[in-house]
Amino acid sequence: MKILYSLVTRRTFLNTLFCGWLIAFLSGCVYALLKFAFPTLGKEPDFVVLNVKDFLDIPPNSVKPFAWGGKLGLFFKKEDGSNYALKGVCTHMECNVMYKPEEKKFYCPCHKGWFDENGKNIAGPPPKPLEFFDIKIEGEKLIVSKKGIKVELPKA
């Protein structure tokens, strides 16, 4: 059915077409540019692989740091010899925590936050406990992974 008169003026049609196409085109280009300018949005790894020899023999009631993506990870051997791994990042404002072996507690010096040896927040501003990881030993490899993540290493 042909209508007798146009619904929009030629000017509106052309301007809308132009602006729409231009925005679509430019947003595509800007997206590519931003993808390059912001490559990884601070994604943490799902797991890291460490050398068993470097960590298993640390003295009891001590920690050894390792790299968890760009953040601090701590390999923790309790007094009774059990091994744990946790993210050494305070749940308050993301400062690095330290282990105080005399008191068997983790301490965050930024705002004087305290965590017990299970990571539970016991004093100071931290709102949540420290994040603990799963540990698996496969031969020479020590695999530290986020809780619940199933790790399948590629056959080297």
């Binding site: 052309l14 729409g20 196409w21 590519a32 993808k35």
Partner: protein, 81 residues
């Protein structure tokens, strides 16, 4: 009006396709990557040529209006909003 919104939506969908291709993180040497690059270039050129055509249309229209000579007289007349 609805027709135009639909058109704009199509364009955005189009641009997402174009943008998506570039998001794949591969080195540009395998045949898959070469194909992706060519494909993206094709979309890119479609975008550029489309824009050039639209601007040409706008130019033609403005020239058509200017040939009426309406902007020559009354240049100093006050604008009515």
């Amino acid at each position: 009006m609805i027709g135009f919104l639909f058109f704009i939506l199509l364009l955005f969908g189009f641009s997402h396709l174009f943008a998506q291709e570039l998001g794949i993180e591969v080195s540009p040497s395998s045949p898959y990557d070469r194909f992706t690059i060519y494909e993206t270039l094709a979309f890119f050129w479609a975008g550029i040529l489309g824009l050039i055509v639209i601007i040409k249309m706008k130019l033609k229209e403005i020239e058509r209006v200017q040939s009426f000579g309406i902007d020559k007289d009354g240049r100093d007349s006050p604008l009515i909003e």
